[in-house]
């Protein structure tokens, strides 16, 4: 792979600090990881697994104790380039209320580029484009305190976007949001990844968010345990559960049915695949062969044919 295609290269990196008794604690232990430009990577792991510590190395909020990390081709130990890296890699944190600095939405979004000394006409353009990208243009003159959690997070993302980053690192951006706010943020991030080609590193506890990534990295006790596509990762239901992580409902149902000997398919990660898996399993006859009064719709025409042939109202 061409070096230019790599956004972040983590090489045998450890992060060590001393606890209150003076003992060394490895928050990260010999982690190697490579993130390509344009990728959407989710990092999952329990509290204390090191995922936030890892993310804080991506824009040099932390420095490695051992090993090194290259971001956009710069070694983060090279102090000369810290600000270059931070312009390329934006961070969004968990609590939206801690990230907003101005009393008006568009001023908040302009805060970053203003600090770069960019001419005001250019700032105007960037702010408008950033608000447009997160679908918050109509709120540009609002006070941020009157917005919902999801809207505030989108403003925080717009503030990062106005810096024209190549990569955005989001550390549990939806943990404090309600379901609607969570959807808004996830959709916005996907849009930025797809339309603008921005590399996304997304830390989350919500597995329904992780299944939408290109790649999932599983952290445990400072070590990178697994790294693969959502399908590869979530087919290991028992391993993930053992780590104290959730899995998508469809994966877990499929896993339990497989365990009982009904071959549903081993790599199911969503409801669509579960339905298909059931229709091709030993359970299909039993589940499809009845006139299904309770269901809203019956999509399979053969099933309708069968029912029609048997006559209505068999129950």
């Amino acid at each position: 792979m061409n070096e230019k295609d790599i956004m972040i290269e983590v090489n045998h990196m450890s992060h060590i600090y001393s606890d209150e008794n003076g003992n060394d604690v490895h928050a990260l232990n010999d982690v190697s990881l490579s993130i390509k430009r344009g990728e959407f990577v989710c990092i999952i792991g329990t509290n204390g697994s090191g995922k936030s510590t890892l993310a804080k190395h991506f824009n040099v909020l932390l420095q490695p104790s051992e090993g090194y990390i290259n971001v956009c081709g710069y070694d983060t130990r090279d102090e000369e380039h810290i600000w270059d890296i931070r312009q390329h890699v934006g961070m969004v944190f968990q609590n939206p209320d801690n990230q907003i600095v101005a009393a008006v939405v568009e001023e908040d979004v302009a805060f970053g580029p203003e600090n770069l000394g960019i001419p005001s006409a250019e700032i105007r353009k960037r702010v408008d484009a950033a608000l447009e990208a997160v679908n918050m243009t109509e709120y540009r003159e609002h006070g941020p305190h009157l917005l919902s959690g999801g809207q505030k997070q989108r403003i925080a993302i717009a503030g990062v976007l106005a810096m024209k980053p190549d990569c955005i690192v989001l550390d549990e951006p939806t943990a404090m949001l309600d379901p609607k706010g969570r959807r808004e943020v996830l959709e916005t991030v996907h849009k930025l990844n797809k339309d603008e080609g921005i590399t996304i590193v997304y830390i989350t506890h919500f597995m329904e968010e992780a299944v939408t990534a290109d790649r999932v990295v599983v952290m445990k006790n400072g070590v990178k345990l697994h790294d693969g596509t959502p399908r590869e990762i979530f087919s290991h239901v028992d391993t993930l559960k053992g780590l104290g992580l959730d899995v998508p409902v469809a994966s877990e149902i499929a896993f339990k049915l497989n365990e009982k000997g009904y071959e549903i398919g081993k790599s199911i990660i969503n409801n669509e695949e579960l339905a298909v898996g059931l229709k091709h399993s030993k359970l299909a006859d039993q589940l499809l062969d009845n006139h299904n009064v309770g269901a809203k719709t019956i999509s399979s025409p053969t099933n309708e044919d069968v029912n029609a042939a048997r006559g209505e109202g068999t129950h």
Binding site: D19, E20, G45, T46, N47, G48, Q94, S148, G149, E172, A175, M176, D178, P179, K180, G181, H205, E208, G244, L245, D246, P248, V249, A250, E252, I253, K256, L257, K260, N271, E272, L274, A275, L278, K279, L283, Q286, L287, L288, D289, N290, N292, V293, G294, A295, K296, T297, I298, S299, S300, N303, H315
Partner: protein, 286 residues
Amino acid sequence: MAIVLDNITYTYGVGTPFEKTALHGVSLTVENGEFLGIIGHTGSGKSTFVQHLNGLLHPTTGTVTVNGVDISASTEEAKKMRHKVGMVFQYPEHQLFEETIAEDIAFGPKNLGLSADEVDERVREAMKFVGLDYDTYAERSPFHLSGGQMRRVAIAGVVAMDPDFLVLDEPSAGLDPFGREEIFEEIIRLHKEKGITVILVSHNMEDISRMASRLVVLDKGRIVLDGQPMDIFNNHRDALQAVGVDVPPVSVTMEYLREQGLDVSNRVLSVDDAVQAILEGGSHVK
């Protein structure tokens, strides 16, 4: 013993340009021993509502009584009843402030005017209850604990007040599944073993459906649904969607399977229920 809200209305900023009515004529009786779940999207009035349960807010009109006593009164009795309703806010670990865990938990009981021995007794009991070993943790700083442990200390501080009612606002927010499980096991124990009435505010429909015996849905400052979780999730989906509340993921899965023509029951609250429903599918007659 019960908390009775009788036709309460609450208006913020009365007489100012920002006047806004957050609750409109809400009546509700929280029965002793219940496990009540409260859901509603952001801005539905949930937080305003729960702050009435222990007198942090007093209704603009209407009354709130705890065990028959109007808690807006400035009597000793009213104060005592307000103490019977423990409140665990969102991210309660942000409210820890003492140098040691034991001192932090002791803060509330001390303010009740208990003797030093009684306070110590309460602290030991509360720590035992939330699974923090006294000898190991009592003298430690609460700020060196994990997120889940800090939250348990915060809950212990409320338990040490010996409440009859416990109100929890998003107690699992930001915790991983292990941490979530720990907190909920503890809440279930408080409910079952101590007989504490629990009022749980959450966005997490899985948690509500798993634990609550009764569910109240708020929208625009009004109660729009009140019933058993199973009934509400299965028979009032449209109403829930209209007020911006999600049904549990496992319900969504089962509904999808039904839409795909698979004959499975949607009366499920957990993954195990769902597996059972699939295995028994086709045999149930509606």
